[in-house]
């Protein structure tokens, strides 16, 4: 097992952003085939493929789609919403898919929309991704001119309009109900579930929400058949994923691998190992929201079950490599600062808890924390877990609690030694987070009156 280019096939040799090039490698043949099939038959292929969502939660895509009412049974319009709001720290694979194989992605969007009987799809695209927006819009225009989208697609009598909607900088809009709120023109604060979007999503109508990479697999599944797709990868983790490799590694970048490939193969064989003669210390295997692994766990396979058995998650497929220069208290602080910045403020445990975590981690890092405050930190994490409407609170609590659990001795040394054992040598020393910057500016704006 190792590199297995399925989604990114031919992208090295050809400019697949061009429709003509994409068509020479069989582009839009899957759409043509799907339009000739019964909707249920396409759905059956997705179910047989057992493809799990590539955004982070890993929910089986076919099952999610099967929760929607059939178009003939729905009094309301049915929507497809694409989650292209990639912003989990460490993740940059949807970006690569949109930039390099935009037509594959769009073909998946069109097939999925047809399968659920939708005539209007929205692509909620991360606001910062300007170039990706330009590439996707240009590809969409080419597809429109060729009749793959628009009125009466390929003479099938089915119409599809696709609107590319740009976000404006908010991590929480990657959460599906926060995304829907944002798409409806509100602050991106998540909704309570149930009702689930499949029943009451965009404009209170049945809505299927899928990640970019998940949709990009759809034409491949239609092409090869669900059963053949399911044979790729390992049990409960079918297919390939595009893993984003970053941090202290020689060759950072995206690697499409069959699921079940080990972290070691990705980090050492493909990624070239740790630079500057340093030692591997820790690995974040699925984006900053997931629990950390130690260097000893580098042989863990990249699949859903193996990661769960190791106490973590495959998440968004973002592998962050951390070498021995990194102070794990500083890592905890920087991660907690991110979630504090991105908390939408709706649920108290997340809004207050992330702020409290940052304060406690600052004290531990500065050597000002008592033994009891380390326990308070874990207690705060525990009280966030499972107590919020959306996963953001858990996404802050789980990794930080895991850093303490796996690197307890390092946290303890900060307390015992009254400061950071790394001194000025940690790779994360003094990193300025956006929350620090906002606070500095607010402080500067408050004019403190001075006496006469």
């Amino acid at each position: 097992m190792a590199l297995r280019k399925l989604l990114l096939a031919h992208a090295d040799e050809r400019d697949l952003t061009k429709l003509a090039e994409y068509e020479t490698v069989g582009g839009y043949e899957s759409l043509r085939r799907a339009l000739g099939m019964e909707r249920q038959a396409v759905l059956d292929e997705l179910l047989a493929a057992d493809v799990r969502g590539r955004g982070g939660a890993g929910f089986p895509m076919g099952r999610k789609a099967s929760f929607l009412p059939k178009p003939e049974d729905s009094s309301k319009r049915i929507y497809l919403v694409v989650n292209a709001d990639e912003s989990e720290p460490g993740t940059f694979k949807d970006r690569e898919i949109m930039l390099r194989v935009p037509h594959l992605f769009l073909e998946g969007v069109f097939i999925a929309a047809n399968t659920i009987g939708s005539n209007l799809a929205f692509i909620y695209l991360r606001g910062e991704y300007l170039r990706e927006y330009e590439v996707v819009v240009a590809a969409l225009e080419e597809a429109r001119e060729a009749g793959y989208v628009g009125k009466d697609v390929l003479g099938s009598g089915w119409d599809l309009a696709v609107v590319v909607h740009r976000g404006a900088g908010a991590y929480i809009c990657g959460e599906e109900t926060g995304l829907l709120e944002s798409l409806e023109g509100r602050r991106g604060q998540p909704r309570t579930k149930p009702p689930f979007p499949a029943i009451s999503g965009l404009y209170a109508s049945p809505t299927l929400i899928n990640n970019v990479e998940t949709l990009a697999t759809v034409p491949k599944i239609v092409q090869m058949g669900g059963e053949a797709y399911a044979r790729l990868g390992v049990e409960h983790s079918a297919g390939t994923r595009v893993f984003s490799l970053s941090g202290n590694v020689v060759n950072g970048g995206n690697y499409e691998l069959e699921l079940g490939t080990s972290l070691r193969e990705l980090i050492y064989d493909l990624g070239g190992g740790i630079p500057d003669g340093r030692e591997l210390k820790a690995i974040i295997p699925g984006g900053s929201s997931v629990p950390v692994l130690t260097a000893a766990e580098v042989d863990t396979p990249l699949d859903f079950d193996s990661m769960a058995a190791a106490g973590t998650m495959l998440g968004s497929g973002a592998v962050i490599v951390i070498d021995d220069r990194c102070c794990m208290v500083q890592l905890g602080l920087r991660v907690a600062q991110f979630y504090m910045h991105e908390s939408c403020g709706k649920c108290t445990p997340c809004r207050e808890g992330t702020r409290w975590m940052v304060q406690l981690l600052h004290k531990i890092e500065e050597g000002d924390a008592t033994q009891g405050e380390l326990d308070v930190l874990l207690d705060v994490c525990d009280r966030i877990l499972g107590n919020c409407l959306c996963p953001l609170g858990d996404a802050a609590a789980m990794p930080v609690a895991s850093y303490v659990a796996r690197f307890r001795e390092e946290y303890q040394r900060h307390i015992d030694e009254g400061g950071c054992p790394f001194g000025d040598e940690s790779s994360l020393k003094g990193v300025l987070a956006p929350v620090d910057q906002h606070h500095a500016r607010l402080r500067a704006e408050i004019e403190v009156p001075t006496g006469p």
Partner: protein
């Protein structure tokens, strides 16, 4: 879209794509921000509100939620340095400090001549090629401290 069309017309045109016009509030705010030198002054919220039949307060409440909308004036150029984990592990703070020195401005500030705003941002999604610096919405990756004087020179000499 002709250059001569008003902000109101352009917002109405965007809103027509959606079943409910309120959905156009983010694109409308983006148009208004582009029209107002990169930030949203109070009158922008009135204009967006007029076009979408929303109150200015509602529009401001939405804008304040999102990181890419600016409620105070910014420089003609925007330099954003990602300091999230992956970039920080490979020296984002050193890149940020190089910009601070070169611009004689702290993160979160605009240069004295009002030309360039410097700020840190959360993960920009270029983690494998850190440090990611976003200059006027275009990604530069990877950026090393040694690249910083060149980027600043380019902005200072450019249009």
């Amino acid at each position: 879209m002709s250059a001569a069309s008003t902000l109101y017309d352009r917002i109405r045109e965007v809103a027509a794509q959606y079943p409910e016009s309120r959905s156009a509030v983010l694109p409308a705010l983006r148009l208004a921000q582009e029209e107002n030198g990169g930030w949203l002054p109070p009158e922008a919220f009135r204009e967006v509100g007029d076009a979408l039949e929303l109150t200015p307060a509602y529009c401001k409440a939405v804008a304040s939620f999102y990181d890419m909308f600016h409620l105070a004036p910014v420089g003609r150029h925007m330099v954003e340095v990602c300091t999230n984990v992956s970039c920080a592990l490979v020296g984002a703070q050193q890149v940020l400090e190089a910009f601070e020195r070169e611009l004689d401005a702290q993160a979160g500030e605009t240069t004295a001549d009002g030309e360039i705003t410097l700020r840190t941002v959360e993960c920009a999604g270029g983690c494998g090629w850190g440090t990611v610096v976003v200059v006027d919405h275009r990604y530069r990756e990877p950026v090393q401290p040694a690249d910083v004087p060149g980027i600043v020179r380019e902005l200072r000499s450019g249009a």
